[in-house]
Symmetry: C2
Subunit: 401 residues, 2 copies
């Protein structure tokens, strides 16, 4: 029964759109068809009704990522909002597979949104760095993976998290310091067969056993019983903000939850920030020219956007004035939907660019002026994240629940 | 290459003899054909030359288990003896999958021998209780498995181990207290594919992922780097005394060792103590009438042997006097080979029984008189193993290296 259910959740990558934890791409210039993805994954669209509930329950204006469909899909977000409405607690869990490359602004999206959720709901946040995953999938040693995790942790902290209610850990150090984590891994691993992970993640017979078992490690933190030092023996529901490519892990976790008689983790999924070269690919650290890094200088940001940001404008000024620009494919415009706060201003820019009044160069200038200060403020915070600051977040401790 | 090597180590259970970590049986009344097993597993026979080396190097008379082929097979035991001869250290590692049933005398064999090895070599001993394995394979909860492990630990301690150089742990509690353990699990899991564990252990697609990854957990303690609190950063070779059915785990560990550039664990394998009803089966806790338990009373021991111990004697006294008894199938005699220390006395009994001079009743009486005091002395030690004593063995600490 459970196996059957899970097998239905298989990876069925579309011929045009590929979205799984290891690959994201599309053939379409305007980017992934996220509505089709919702259908394929069996999640729910975040509609106006849900956004209204969000605002009513929290008393806060919805984040621009919600207003603009950047966080576009969910599972059980209604229940989490009702829980909050009833004065009950939940916690947030997100994470990252650390990498040696610098983090780029695409990596920041789920963390920026998570920080906002934490501010709005005032709940504990747990951030997992899956250095074990990286050691397993890539040709890097355990020691190297741990170092990457610690360095990435500082980058994440600089998004602005509060050590008062945020716990960060890397698997390779933490699992060996938390018996409840390993015990929950065992409970999860007992509920999931090879057939199931084959269906959900596409693993094969020649995959190493560490890959096959890894999903249990990303699943464990979605259960509050994994962190007795934070939650005691209280069972606290979990909301996972993440990019949609991580959904397979949580489809599995939700199935396991039912068998362990624990609350199913709720989810809120983001789209991907596109690469500079176009929306067929998400921003990727492996191509420096495709990405704006968190340690780029204002000059680098300016040059990259001017040089590489794919334009929806026309070939000549005359033609552009006549036909107008295409905001569906224009990367500078897409970036503004992520980073420009003012809805009216964004609507104005869209209208002006599509009518041909605004030229590509002008649009790029606005994108540069919007992104640069965000990165600069980030860099100021990043400079203050010392080893000591990091240790505060990593300390195994009771946090504000 | 490594995969190819490992695939050659597949489980190929003979049509007559079945020996793998989950099943041991034979169709032959005289028990398993251990010489054939050595060939099938690709291990080495313990021959007189090796026993002589053992005695020369240690200056001690070989244990009766060695003299009588009860520990019959090995891998790299020569290297361990040479190491000891050169004044270098190694460590011992053995274990048990805890169970709710009482331990029986068959379970004691590897532990009795391990204690003797530890006394002879004066080296650290590590004992793993795989409660995670039991939680995975059987319909029991994590909490129950942990309790079983702690209760079994006391039974093992009563064999006579010294807390000064013995560290005992159960996986479900210890892995979450030792980052080096989880890190080594990851290193091992990275070297072994599903194809390989399929070949070695016979796992299939509908097995849960916890089973598939479990071999990495039995392998990890065979590397000294798993226990930095004992060995620091010294790389110390390992000798594993175990029943031959556990060999698949260490064939895998030895292959992994080569890839991790760590010493291959050496092995010394025991045969199985047969069930009372006959040598087709090993003694099993699930059948109370087939086993002598460590908490049996002298009366129970006497009754069980008299009532159930399969006899190699003839149907009538007359026929027995004429044809003599068959020591190849007689369980009381087999038990004497395990438990009667005096070689001359054993030879005398064999001669007398085979000639028909000694009757089955007389042989059983000797078996009862040999086994009963061993169990009684064990029970006296067991009564002294309090929770505090147990905690001494479980404490994560530097031990005599």
């Amino acid at each position: 029964m459970a196996e059957e259910q899970l097998n239905k959740m298989s990876i069925h990558n579309d011929e045009d759109d590929v979205v799984d934890p290891w690959n994201v791409s599309t053939k379409s210039e305007s980017g992934l068809d996220y509505d089709k993805l919702i259908k394929r994954f069996g999640s729910q669209k975040i509609d106006q009704e849900l956004i209204d509930k969000f605002e009513r329950v929290t008393g806060k204006k919805a984040h621009r990522f919600l207003r603009r469909g950047i966080f576009f899909s969910h599972r059980d977000l209604h229940s989490i909002l009702s829980l909050h409405e009833a004065g009950k607690k939940f916690y947030l869990y997100t994470g990252r597979g650390p990498s040696s490359e610098s983090m780029h602004i695409g990596h920041m999206i789920p963390f920026m949104f998570t920080k906002w959720l934490q501010d709005v709901f005032n709940v504990p946040l747990i951030i997992q760095l899956t250095d074990d995953e990286k050691a397993m999938w890539r040709d890097i040693k355990v020691e190297e993976a741990r170092k990457m995790a610690h360095s990435n942790a500082k980058d994440i902290i600089a998004v602005g998290f509060d050590p008062g209610n945020t716990f960060i850990f890397n698997d390779l150090d933490f699992i060996g310091q938390c018996p409840a984590f390993y015990q929950n891994m065992v409970r999860i691993q007992k509920c999931v067969t090879f057939n199931q992970v084959k269906g959900i993640f596409g693993f094969g017979d020649s995959d190493v056993i560490g890959k096959i078992t890894f999903p249990s490690i990303e699943a464990a933190p979605a259960f509050s019983t994994t962190f007795p030092f934070i939650f005691g023996d209280k069972v606290v529901p979990c909301l996972v903000p993440c990019a949609i490519d991580q959904d397979p892990y949580f489809r599995m976790s939700r199935d396991v939850a039912a068998r362990l008689k624990l609350p199913k983790p709720a989810l809120i999924h983001s789209t991907f920030l596109p690469a500079l070269q176009g929306a067929q690919h998400k921003m990727s650290a492996s191509d420096p020219n495709a990405s704006i890094f968190l340690n780029d200088t204002p000059k680098q940001i300016k040059n990259k956007i001017n040089k590489y940001a794919f334009s929806g404008g026309q070939a000549t000024v005359e033609e552009h004035r006549e036909k107008g620009g295409n905001t569906d494919v224009d990367i500078s415009f897409k970036y503004l939907t992520f980073f420009l706060e003012d809805d009216d201003e964004l609507a104005e820019i869209k209208k002006s660019y599509e009518s041909g009044e605004m030229l590509t160069g002008e649009l790029k200038k606005i994108a540069i002026e919007t992104i640069t200060p965000i990165i600069q403020e980030y860099q100021e915070r990043r400079a203050k994240v010392t080893d000591d600051v990091m240790q505060e977040f990593f300390k195994i401790r009771k946090i504000n629940v």
